[in-house]
Symmetry: C2
Subunit: 167 residues, 2 copies
DNA sequence: ATAAACTTTCAATAATTATTGAAAGTTTAA
DNA sequence: TTAAACTTTCAATAATTATTGAAAGTTTAT
C-alpha cells in the first residue's frame, strides 16, 4: 500500500467511525486529515483533499474548534487561515472524553435529578421507577467521576495504573 | 411529579440519549420502557405506550434481542410474546460495552492493522502517517483490552478498584 | 475609502435514516 | 386442515441530518 492509498483509507475510516459516535463524517475526516498532516492546512487544502464545499469546511472547522481539537494557526505573511489538530492521542482522548461528559453525561444527570422529585405513591410501579432511576443515577455519576478524574490528570497516571491493574 | 409524568420523561430522555450514541430512538425508548416496567410487555403494550407502529416495534425488539439486552418471555397460556430487559445496570453496562467493542472497536483495529502494510518510502509525510497510525493503534488496543477485562469480570472488582483508586 | 482576499452564514437541496402499514409468513387451537 | 392470532418483512414515505453555493460579512493592504 502506498502513501496516497493509506491516507485515503485512514481518512475515510476515521470518517465513518466518527459518525458512529456522534460526530459527523466531514468533521471526523477533517480531523483525520489534519492528524496525519505534517504542516497546517488551509481551507482550500481541506476542500481540495476531501472534495467538500467551502461552507461545509468552514462549519465543520468551527465545530472542531468548539470541541477544542483543532486550532487556528496564523502563518506570518499569509492572508489565509491555517489549521492544526492536537497530535497527541492521549491528549486527544482527554479532550474528547471531557467534551462528551459535558455534552452527554451532564444532561442525563440533570434529568435523573429532576426525576428524583417523583412522588412515591406506594405502588409497585412507582417504586420500580424510583429504584431504576436511582440505579442509573449512581452509575452515571460514577462513570462521570471516572472520566473527570482521568481528564484532569495530565500525567495520565490513572491509565498506567489501570493497565497494570488489568494485565 | 407523578408517575405518568416521570415515566414519560424517563423514556423520552433515554430515547434521545440513545440516539446520541448510535442506537436509534425507538430502540432506546423500548428498552427504557421495559427497564422500568414491573412485568413483561407485549408488542401491543409497547406500541400503545410509545405510539409507534407494529413494524417499527418488531424490528427494534429484534435489534434489542440481537444486542442481548432484551429477551422473549413466554407466558404460559398466552399466545402473545412478551419481552423483558436486563434490569441490573451493571450487567447492562457490561453487555453494551462488549457489543460496542465488537461492533465499533474491532473494525477500527482491523483497518489500522491493514494500514500497517504501508510501504515506508522515507518521506516525512509517510513517516507521519505511520507514526500516527501506530499511536492510534496502540491506544485502541489498550482501550479494547480494558473493556474486555471489565466485561469478562462478572464480579466487577475492577470497577470497585477503580473507584477506590480514583477517589 | 476602496478593493481584493478571504471567511461565514443560511436557504435550498441532497443524502441518509427511521417509520409506517399492509401483505406475507408463522404458530397454535380446534 | 382450517382459521384465528399473532409476528415479520419490506417497499413506500416521512423525518432528520448533511451539504452546497452564492450572497453577505470581515479583514488587510494600498
Amino acid at each position: 500500500m502506498n502513501y496516497e492509498e493509506a491516507k485515503i483509507k485512514f481518512v475515510s475510516t476515521w470518517g465513518s467511525l466518527g459518525s458512529l459516535w456522534g460526530i459527523n463524517k466531514a468533521m471526523a475526516q477533517i480531523q483525520a486529515l489534519l492528524f496525519i498532516s505534517i504542516k497546517p492546512l488551509s481551507m482550500e487544502d481541506i476542500m481540495a483533499e476531501l472534495q467538500i464545499s467551502r461552507g461545509n469546511t468552514s462549519m465543520n472547522l468551527r465545530q472542531l474548534m468548539d470541541w477544542g481539537i483543532v486550532t487556528k494557526e496564523l502563518i506570518p505573511g499569509e492572508r489565509k487561515e491555517y489549521f492544526t489538530t492536537e497530535k497527541d492521542v492521549q491528549e486527544l482522548t482527554r479532550i474528547i472524553a471531557k467534551e462528551r461528559s459535558r455534552r452527554e453525561i451532564q444532561p442525563v444527570i440533570k434529568v435523573l435529578n429532576e426525576l428524583s422529585s417523583i412522588k412515591d405513591d406506594g405502588t409497585d410501579k412507582t417504586k420500580e421507577l424510583i429504584k431504576q432511576t436511582k440505579a442509573l443515577h449512581d452509575l452515571t455519576l460514577n462513570a462521570d467521576t471516572m472520566i473527570n478524574k482521568l481528564v484532569n490528570q495530565k500525567q495520565n497516571w490513572i491509565t498506567k495504573s489501570l493497565i497494570k491493574l488489568i494485565k
